[in-house]
Amino acid sequence: MSLGTRLQERRKYLDITQATLAKNLNVPRELISMWEHDRRVPSLGQLKEVALLLNLNTNFLLGKEDLKTLNPEPIFRAVKNQYSQKELKRWFEFLDNWAEFLEEDLEEKILKPQIYKGFEDYHGTTDSRRAPNLANKVREYFQLGLDAIPDLYAFFNEKNLLVYRYPLGSLKSGSDAISGAFVNHSKLGASIFVNASVARGRQMFTLAHELAHAIFHHSTDSHVSKFSERSKKMERFANVFAANFLVPAKSLRELASKSPDPYEAITLAAYFKVSYWSMLIRLKEENIIGKNSFDEYREYSPNDMANRLGLKTEAFNSTQPKESIYVSRYPISVIQKIKTAINDDLLSPSQAADLLNIDSMAVKTVILKSFDGPSPEEKKLRDEMEYGIAS
């Protein structure tokens, strides 16, 4: 069976049209047809993209191996949007490649994060009434106190939880958009995906939400958190956990006045590094504001208020254009490991580019610097990746 025939059969099996495949590959539809009829041969780069999109191994397309479907399919069935599906697959592919790099190339023992240790008795909890108390227990266990967590990304990094962020589009009401995903990778353990299209405050919420899954639902293989599914029991639990984890009730009561106005709400949101919307919900949940105030305050523009008060607006704005989440989609621990491996002659810049799915110039000019030491850009990158530190 030729490459073209295998490609065509797999595409049809997955009920994907040539036009859809072409669109996802950024090539003309006619080229797909030519490939399928063996009149043209894809480049290796294109072949790998095809394999990613059709969820199979390149060696099958080349006739060298039997079909091996990659990645747990249930997680992708839950995701209708083709673009989101592709990026989630790319994330999975990175996790597999990263595990291979650590284990086989660097010959290191992988230490899976054990973030659920200490909470085994609560495993499987989905009762959202228990979430506030469990959020406090988690804070206490990790000695996070009750104040705003200065840097949630750094906390995850320290706990060896890999967090990958990439823009998947905004979370419009009723949409199928994904705010985040959790996977229990067979070698790396708990790993989290955050949709970087949303405001920083919302990203923090997603992180805390996925943390709930990592601690209390860690035996689940994989899971996506969809905006449209927030009423489901497990999702509701994780949402309540996240809200209380980020904004503990005790701390909020101490800081908020008796009748906070919207400007105080935005100041509190900036302090706790959450979205204005999350803060309004917390204030209402704790009966610090009533429903009327809640309905009134949600009409205010957080950006306008933040600007008037001289607050940083990153927490309230949707983030930079998707293309700027490039090297910074990876946690600092990954970048540091890459840099060390290159300096130790265990990895070339091109190999690093392949591993991270970026170009080798970005590896050289952003991640690495010549023997003169870290560049201002690299320092800025670190600052950007550590939320809350001014860049």
Binding site: L3, N26, V27, P28, R40, V41, P42, S43, L44, G45, Q46, L47, K48, E49, T58, N59, L62, K64, E100, F101, E104, D105, L106, Q320, P321, E323, S324, Y326, A341, I342, N343, D344, D345, L346, L347, S348, P349, S350, Q351, A353, D354, L355, I358, D359, S360, M361, A362, K364, T365, V366, L368, K369, S370, F371, D372, E377
Partner: protein, 258 residues
């Protein structure tokens, strides 16, 4: 004298890679030459693409994963970002955050890509070349390399663009112009008849042949490429490749002696 002694104590000689029949460099470069992304970027980014063309007296060939001629129309990039390795930095300039970072290079990249001076030619891959490229960039290459180099360490599988470039060079008996150490290691171990020529070699050849003078070659390689962009060091960042004059040559030097 003290300087010479210091150099003798510190540096290691770096020899050109010659194929078994000892063709000299001018003959090697007279063959069709296919370029990897590293070497191509080295010359283009510092505005020396035309020098490369003059040295070879021909256009360089580029594999489709390195530069796909169907992706050159920037007006499409908003909806269809390029997959070509060489175009990705340009894409990050127009659609990302890297405009300032790459501001010194954009004009050179655009000029090269526009190809008005016919500096490059695209090439497509055959099915056999695709299969070999997939092998070189896959897990299977490790076992083959381990047989030839049992003490090999680090990552063995290479970037798809490198793999594709090398596969074409191997199967068409072309010259491989490249700097990726991982790919060069595979070629030397498994395909030793493939001529390999690196950036430093080309620039010192250019100076020897009086296309440029030695200080110019030093400025291009030592300053613009190695320091300003990046050129891989070795031995855990203790040795750095440099062009030296009198006589003109490439040598690995320690940081202390630079």
């Amino acid at each position: 004298m003290a300087q010479a002694q210091k150099r003798k104590n510190c540096v290691m000689k770096w020899s050109m890679v010659l194929p078994p029949d000892n063709k000299d460099l001018s003959q090697i470069l007279a063959q069709p030459c296919i370029v990897d992304n590293d070497l191509l970027s080295n010359f283009v980014y510092v505005g020396q693409a035309k020098l490369l063309n003059r040295l070879l007296n021909q256009s360089v060939f580029l594999s489709p994963t390195i530069l796909n001629p169907n992706e050159l129309d920037k007006s499409n990039w908003n909806l269809h970002p390029p997959n070509s390795e060489f175009l990705k930095p340009l894409y990050t300039v127009y659609h990302g955050d890297y405009a300032k970072k790459y501001q010194n290079y954009v004009a050179h990249i655009e000029e090269f890509v526009g190809n008005k001076a016919n500096l490059w030619k695209p090439t497509s891959v055959s099915r056999d070349e695709l299969a070999l490229a997939a092998e070189l960039s896959g897990k299977e290459i490790k076992a083959r390399l381990k047989q030839a180099m049992p003490n090999i360490k680090g990552r063995t599988r290479v970037h798809p663009g490198e793999a594709e470039t090398a596969a074409i060079a191997i199967l068409r008996a072309w010259t491989f112009l490249g700097d990726d150490q991982a790919m060069i290691r595979i070629l030397r171990a498994l395909y030793p008849s493939v001529p390999i020529v690196r950036t430093c070699q080309l620039l010192s050849y250019a100076a020897n042949a009086a296309f440029i003078n030695c200080p110019e070659a030093q400025e291009i390689f030592n300053e613009r490429i190695a320091k300003e962009i990046f050129f891989a060091s070795r031995n855990k960042n203790t040795e750095h490749l440099r062009i030296l004059c009198n006589p003109i040559r490439c040598e690995w030097v320690t940081k202390a002696s630079i």
